[in-house]
Symmetry: C2
Subunit: 158 residues, 2 copies
DNA sequence: GATACAGTACTCGGATAGTCTGTGTCCGAGTTCCTTGGG
DNA sequence: CCCAAGGAACTCGGACACAGACTATCCGAGTACTGTATC
């Protein structure tokens, strides 16, 4: 099981955007995080499609969070970049082979699929309890409360 | 986030093996589940490497569970086939770019990585609470208690 | 009749191609700001 | 001095190559059974 690497960049970008009042260009975010600019832009486009950020074109354009960081969950960001479909996809093995179960008896999903869905649910719940604001607070705490101020300063300076 | 499709086959195969006293050849399992024989064999090899099943060669050879089905968790099977490394891999973005955090201040993992690790933990816990025996019981319940008996009968026949 | 041996059929195991989803990149369309010319 | 129009620079957005991993497959090494020849 593997998650798209763009998720990491998108989350860091969201944390950074939560510290900015004005739009921030994708190239600027890429510079700050040391990532390929064009590819980070791709992830931001996904966030825009999901309605998490909004984009403005032009000379002072860039990306902005559409909602306060306290109202954006990590789950939303992950699903925007990585897709919403669950990790486990049941291919209905039980309906194949010599002991195939007839389709009309398969209203309820397979017991294996139910178990995997339950785990996925636990995972989703854990991520939906955490917001971008929580992440920012956590990063700040790790650095004696200077990290976010540094980000704001860097964004303001040229 | 996507899981290897082999996980589904491996889980179904384990449930089937839990109903068999004698070794079951990979080709036999593939026939029962309607899957490519050679590829299912590959998944069984992974299970063998993980110590979940044992293989015996020769004319009456095949695969057997090494432990009672009540002592094999779904998590073990998933990790044997899909690998043990977590879905989210932190590439230490915080140590890159103009505001890079010095390495000596990064003893603790990134706040984002901690959040993702927590979710992964919840997912793992959910899967480790379910055993192959539970799955077999669930499948049996879905089919008025005939499914496992049918499997045993099919394995014994021919 | 019992036993040892050779042959055979069956099993797993790793090494080998094909394909599909990320990963990374680029250039064009659109918008905003700035400059400049006119009133 | 104020205003409007044109140009330029900057932004995003989707379309285009490249790569690694999953998917699928095959053939060789090894083992247990079976039949036969011998004692």
């Amino acid at each position: 099981m593997k998650m798209t690497s763009g998720v990491e960049w998108a989350l860091h970008a969201c944390v950074t955007l939560s510290q900015a009042a004005d739009p921030v260009p994708a190239a600027r975010l890429a510079e700050l995080h040391g990532t390929p600019p064009a590819y980070l832009a791709k992830q931001l486009q996904s966030l825009a499609r999901a309605g998490i950020v909004t984009s403005t074109a032009g000379q002072v354009g860039g990306y902005t969070l559409t909602r306060p960081a306290t109202e954006v969950t990590v789950l939303e960001v992950v699903q925007a970049v990585d897709g919403t479909e669950p990790a486990y996809r049941c291919t209905e093995i039980r309906q194949r082979g010599p002991l195939a179960v007839p389709a009309e008896k398969c209203e309820r999903s397979c017991a294996i699929a139910r178990a995997m869905a339950e785990a996925q649910e636990a995972w989703s719940r854990a991520l939906s309890r955490i917001t971008i604001a929580d992440l920012a607070r956590g990063i700040d705490a790790d650095s004696d409360g200077t990290a976010m101020a540094d980000v704001r300063g860097w964004l303001a300076a040229v």
